[in-house]
Amino acid sequence: MTLTLDEVRRIAHLARIEIDAREAAEVHAKLEAIFTMIDELQAVDTTGVEPMSHAQDVVLTMREDRVTETDRHAEYQRVAPAVEDGLYLVPRVVE
């Protein structure tokens, strides 16, 4: 597998991480080394193997449908970068 510089920029944008040309080149070199190591997996025969998503073979436990939370927005918003009238403020959302 070869990861191109363009792909590095594409995934950086997908991950919303600003990356300049110098960083992209540097990251590109390191990611290539990492993927060379990861590519070892491609040689493994996994025919018929069930993927393992969880460390324990368990099923979900559920909670009853009850309201257990109270309004704590003032407390939660103490660490917010920008709030007004109880709303989180962000740069204009365009649809």
């Binding site: 979900l60 709303l87 962000v90």
Partner: protein, 492 residues
């Protein structure tokens, strides 16, 4: 501009006819008290962020715990549409950045949804009764809301809605016109309310539809589809699909190609437009949510839910036909909602009246009064036993059908039950043969010219005489007796 017809599945442009292919995705907010993954309330309209818990705003370190009530509602839906309720389904993360999506991913179901298959029966204006196949229905969480009022050039984010349980119901591309799409959406809307899993309040966003629309020349493979969002009323759905169909046909006929994209319907301008914000959100990087092991639903749980299910509208409609002898139209109207159906059955159970009479009254007087008052049948001031009491007085000849309408209005106004109103207002029907005869004699004597017209062969004059006699009795005389006596006296 291409000609289109909203009632014919073959929308006409120039050349060979166009076929429209529509699939609907509906987001039904489930009527739980708390959110799907947190214990915060789901009530609509609270002050911003007062119903957003640590889980809902995605504070670091907090984790989702699934609400059993949401799953139970999904099972109800699966049973109602004849789908397969999956013994094991998987929650997955759908990753994208948006300020109303606090975690940067939505917890949804992707590869293995909780309900697979099933269908909804509708009546198409052109194709008759058809079954719209469902691909799937899956559980997921709703997002918050971006408020676009200006906060110093910024938008405000309210996360109260974030984490509200949704059932996303996806059809196969089985619909062929905006009429069919609306018929399906209405049937689904009725169904989710019927089985009590969603309040169906479209103004509040409890029931929202997206339409995938494409066009093709008859017989050709599927065209490129556009997804129209923001269809929050049946009328907008119809208008948006019709606009989009016209746009796509015009585009293709002018030599252009349809680009797969998400479009937003703007009801003010009656047009759809491309949503730029969704442009780069196509790579959602779904993967199984490591915070949530698979959801297991036992056969025993499904059986328990099944036992608690109400009779479904289709079954009830058929039963209303066979058990009460109602024509299909009446049965369909009376099973439009669970409340309407139970009103009908309660009135019939009260006894003393023909089911058909109850149906006629419900679809006539009761329905008109509800519309005038703009209230639901559950809030009707005349309860089923009271209606039955009124109709019994027609059946036993105490009052005429015409008088009964006045009595009904009085009952609606809260003046008491039928018997009390009849007694108080002296509305009881006059059935005494002698009394009616006397009344008729008076009418004949006072209207010699009309009698003469009748005798000269003018049949209508007879009705006029009946009217005079009824008026003289202030409507209380038994009309059948009036008729008979008049006929006899005029030498019939």
């Amino acid at each position: 501009m291409a000609q289109t017809s909203t009632t014919n599945p073959a929308y006409r442009g120039s050349g060979p006819s166009w076929e429209v292919v529509i699939g609907l995705e509906t987001h039904a907010q489930l009527s739980t008290a708390s959110k799907i993954f947190s214990g915060a309330p789901t009530a609509f309209g609270a002050a911003p962020n007062t119903q957003a818990s640590a889980v809902d705003i995605a504070l670091p370190g907090v984790l989702p715990v699934l609400n059993r009530g949401a799953v139970e509602r999904a099972i109800r839906f699966g049973l109602a549409v004849g789908g397969n309720v999956a013994a094991k389904s998987v929650f997955a993360r759908k990753n994208y950045f948006y300020p109303d999506l606090p975690k940067g991913y939505q917890i949804s179901q992707y590869e293995i949804p909780v309900v697979q298959g099933g269908g909804v029966d509708i009546v198409s204006p052109t194709r008759g009764a058809i079954r719209v196949r469902l691909t799937r229905a899956h559980l997921e969480e709703d997002a918050g809301k971006s408020l676009h009022e200006d906060y110093h050039g910024m938008s405000g984010i309210d996360l109260n809605r974030a984490g509200t349980p949704l059932l996303e119901i996806v059809t196969e591309p089985d619909l062929r016109s905006s009429d069919e799409a609306v018929a399906y959406a209405k049937a689904l809307h009725g169904l989710v309310r019927w089985i009590g899993i969603c309040d169906g309040n479209m103004q509040e966003g409890s029931f929202r539809c997206d339409a995938n629309v494409s066009v093709r020349r008859a017989g050709e493979p599927l065209g490129t589809r556009c997804e129209i969002k923001n269809l929050n009323s049946f009328r907008f759905m119809q208008q948006a699909i019709d606009y989009e169909v016209r746009r796509q046909i015009a585009l293709v006929e002018e030599g252009g190609t349809v680009v797969q994209e998400t479009r937003l319907y703007d009801p003010d301008r009656d047009e759809t437009r491309s949503m730029r914000s969704k442009e780069d959100a196509q790579d959602y990087r779904y993967f199984p949510d490591p915070d949530l092991p698979p959801l297991a639903i036992s056969g025993e749980w499904i059986a328990r839910v099944k036992a608690g299910m109400p009779e479904l509208p289709e079954a009830m409609r058929a039963r209303f036909g066979t058990a009460y002898g109602l024509p299909d139209h009446d049965a369909a109207m009376l099973t439009a909602s669970r409340e309407t159906a139970s009103y009908f059955e309660e009135a019939v159970r009260a006894g003393g009246v023909e089911p058909k009479t109850v149906a006629n009254w419900m679809l006539g007087e009761v329905s008109a009064a509800l519309n005038r008052a703009e209230i639901d049948i559950a809030a009707a001031p005349v309860k089923p036993p009271a209606l039955a009491g009124l109709l019994a007085r027609i059946a036993d000849g105490t009052i005429s059908g015409k008088i009964a309408k006045d009595v009904f209005d009085a009952m609606w106004a809260g003046e008491g039950d039928a018997d009390a109103i009849i007694a108080k207002k002296g509305l009881e029907q006059i059935s005494d043969e002698g009394a009616i005869e006397k009344l008729v004699d008076g009418v004949l004597a006072a209207n010699a010219s009309i009698v003469a017209e009748f005798r000269a062969g003018k049949e209508k004059a007879f009705n006029s005489l009946v009217g005079k006699a009824m008026a003289a009795s202030k409507g209380k005389a038994n009309p059948a007796q009036v008729n008979a006596i008049l006929k006899r006296k005029l030498g019939g």
